[in-house]
Amino acid sequence: MKTICRIFSSTLVLTTLFLMAVLLAWGAGPVSAADPWPAKHVELINPFAAGAAADIQARKLAEIVSRDLGQPMVVRNVLGAGGAIAYNEVHRAKTDGHTLIWYSGAINTLAARKQIPFDYNAFEPIAGVGIETVSIAVSKNAPWKSLKEFIAHAKQNPGKVTMGNSGMGSVTHMVPVAMAAKAGIKITHVPFGTGLAMVALMGGKIDSSSQHPAEVFNQVKAGEVRILAVSSEKRINIWPDVPTMKEEGVDLEFDQWRGIAAPKGTPQAVVDKLSPIIKKAVESKEWIDFASSLGSTPRYLAPAAFAKFVAGVDKETREIMQAAGLLK
């Protein structure tokens, strides 16, 4: 005890600690709210890591949108807890339209798993930007030439076939879970980080993996892996030869979706001004070319249609999770 007293006896140490505490507590002061939107730069909070496909799409879109916005749209990565931290931050943010979220299916899965204490109703949808399909990949040496063969093999060996995904509760996890349920098979899901399942797949540590096209198209082009099927309604541009799950006899259609939203209570004027700007950006040739090159399908949705769409996906997500016992 004596030593501890001596350690802290220095008044300098104590004073500094105290001063730092005071300064920190005082820290976040109010910022004056301005009238015409956007009065300053608009922050797009991105729950995904810098460099990921979702991140570079956000950056590209922000760049195009900034040209018409009058103020720059700045992407800021807020990482951690599968996106929960980013959603919490935007949920709490001031509703002046200067803080937006790079919105995606994470809102559905996070809410369903009660990792955030709110759901899509806490956000004001501004515009749907597009969808990104989920692809099922196997190594070039794998014996299965089609999803049908893969499923037949999994049926004979229940629980033996492993499939990597980018994380528990992610859309790349939801698709294989739903696929297994619809096809009546049992597979072992192995969570990796975004893009890391590919390393294990190419190294032969897992049998198959589930990911968005942007995380795998390099390796497909190089002939390292083959794609058995994609989960979208139609085949995608970059892989015209890859069938959809429906074509392969699995009645499933489930994609990652992306868009932009603001916290609930944001003035309608902001939505009315921003949504057409995003529409113009999403329908520009520059965006269509860029998004398609990453295997993403551009599709603008107006606020009302977007809200309805997100609600629909939310219901579907909960059903899939319920069936798989992942719901809390």
Binding site: T16, G51, A53, L79, V199
Partner: protein, 502 residues
């Protein structure tokens, strides 16, 4: 491709705008490295919009410049003020700062710049000639191999500082435990976050290291009532390493380059692991291990070479497979995709200008950084002589800004402050913070790979050691535990027998 083609493509780097981009990137990188907190990944993400205007080759050269520039800058504050500017430079504080206290700051800075240059260049040469071959080897590592590797790391590095094995182990375990805070990487459950939102994402590595080293140092200087020993003005000749120091650095730099490059091929926090591994290796094979921690130049030369070589090694999976293994290379990949370039086996065929431009920029950038850094040594070495009453408040502010800036969360600043207090108490009781940092780095990889291995094998424990690579690593780990226990009694026994015979 013919040699002439390679050469002309390498020369692309020497076009004026590319040289300027390389210089700007290296400068920004060095600054980012010097400042605690902000890391290369975040800085590169910030610069991406700017690089879009520069065009693919110049833009990527600039991003690459930031990437390796930060590795150069990271050691500066480690050596001068005991605040690691980058996680990969944590280990440099051990001997670098001790050297600075002895008035050899200039030598330490110069050796780390020279070591970085040699290692950087060696790794680019290896990258240029063996990339496809090595990329295949990296794929042999799956979850089971990573788990074995982290176990080996814990065993070999548990006595890294050579003070007390028990205390080191306690610190290492504390680091492993701290790394479990936040969302569980496999099941997605929240652990030990106590309802604190930021803690859901885990305890910030930057906050902990900045606190344990930087803030604790500030407290220690404040609490030391007596004036710090006056540091004598250094003569120009003494600014740079003397012949003995140079001779002692040659082998560690060579070993660090090879070790760092190989570790750089693996996913995870490669540069940080490489620097720790190099330090552990240098200490264990050194003929005078007692000097480590008290200013052994090998403890600066090896790790600084290793972390630069690792950042070169990490480019291999990116360029030849299109797989980013580290956050910083992920941003580089993002930058390439934004420019419409697809890294991977076809990069060399489709865009040789970009491929060789980036490789060339590595050569140029390393040389540039050496030229940039060596004259700065004199300037930085003088910084040590700034009176503490000015220097320490600046450090305090920089630490707070860096920690806040990393994630924009005030909670991290609190963690940093708490870690500072704990770090200060730890020092007083003779606990080293470095093993805790090792635990914090290895923890997430260890847990994730352990659970992935068991999920893949359906719960068969044997799967943890079945592959030959795993077996080798487990073997080394067991030997490392057993030998120190077995050898002393055998040695004693032999001595006794010899004495009896005599």
């Amino acid at each position: 491709m013919s040699d002439q083609g390679i050469l002309s493509n390498l020369l692309i780097t020497l076009q004026p705008d590319n040289v300027i981009a390389c210089f700007a990137g290296a400068m920004i990188g060095t600054l980012i490295g010097v400042l605690p907190g902000l890391g290369p990944a975040a800085a590169m993400a910030l610069v991406i919009p700017l690089t879009l205007k520069l065009g693919p080759t110049a833009g990527l050269i600039m991003l690459a410049g930031i990437y390796y520039g930060s590795m150069y800058g990271g050691s500066t504050t480690s050596i001068l003020v005991n605040v690691p500017g980058e996680p990969a430079s944590v280990v440099t504080t051990l001997d670098g700062y001790a050297m600075a206290k002895k008035g050899r700051a200039g030598a330490a800075l110069a050796i780390s710049a020279i070591g970085s240059f040699i290692a950087g260049t060696v790794s680019v040469i290896a990258l240029q000639f063996f990339a496809p071959l090595l990329a295949r080897t990296a794929l042999a590592f799956g979850p089971a191999e990573y788990f074995a590797l982290t176990v080996l790391g814990v065993v070999l590095l548990s006595n890294m500082t050579g003070k007390s094995r028990t205390r080191s182990l306690v610190m290492m375990m504390a680091g492993l435990i701290l790394s479990t805070v936040g969302m569980d990487p496999i099941g997605g459950l929240e652990r030990f976050s106590f309802g604190i939102e930021t803690a859901q994402g885990g305890i910030s590595f930057i906050a902990i290291t900045t606190g344990l080293f930087g803030i604790a140092e500030v407290f220690a200087v404040m609490a030391a009532r007596e004036k710090r020993a006056e540091i004598l003005p250094v003569k120009f000749r003494e600014l740079y390493p003397n012949r003995k120091e140079l001779r002692r650095s040659v082998a560690p730099i060579a070993r660090g380059s090879v070790l760092g490059f190989l570790i750089g091929l693996l996913p995870g926090p490669a540069a940080t692991m490489a620097s720790f591994a190099s330090y552990g290796m240098e200490r264990s094979i050194s003929r005078h291990p007692g000097e480590f921690g008290n200013g052994a130049i090998e403890g600066v030369a090896g790790p600084e070479a290793a972390n630069n070589a690792a950042s070169g090694g990490a480019m291999i999976p990116l360029l030849s497979l299109g797989l980013p293994f580290t956050p910083a290379t992920a941003v580089l990949l993002g930058g390439m995709l934004l420019h419409g370039i697809t890294p991977g086996p076809f990069l060399l065929r489709d865009r040789p200008d970009v491929f060789w431009g980036v490789i060339g920029s590595f050569y140029l950038g390393n040389a540039m950084l050496l030229i940039l850094n060596l004259p700065l040594v004199g300037f930085f070495a003088k910084l040590v002589r700034v009176p503490s009453r000015y220097l320490m408040p600046i450090i305090l502010v920089l630490c707070a800004i860096g920690t806040y800036g990393d994630n924009g969360a005030l909670f991290d600043v609190w963690v940093m402050l708490g870690a500072g207090v704990i770090g200060y108490v730890m020092r007083k009781y003779g606990y080293q913070p470095a093993p805790l940092v090792v635990g914090l780095v290895l923890g997430p990889v260890m847990e994730r790979s352990f659970r992935q291995t068991l999920i893949i094998s359906g719960g068969r424990v044997e799967s943890l050691w079945e592959s030959p690579i795993c077996m080798a690593m487990w073997g080394v780990a067991f030997l490392a535990i057993l030998l120190p226990m077995v050898i002393p009694p055998i040695k004693a026994g032999m001595k006794r027998r010899l004495r009896n015979r005599a």
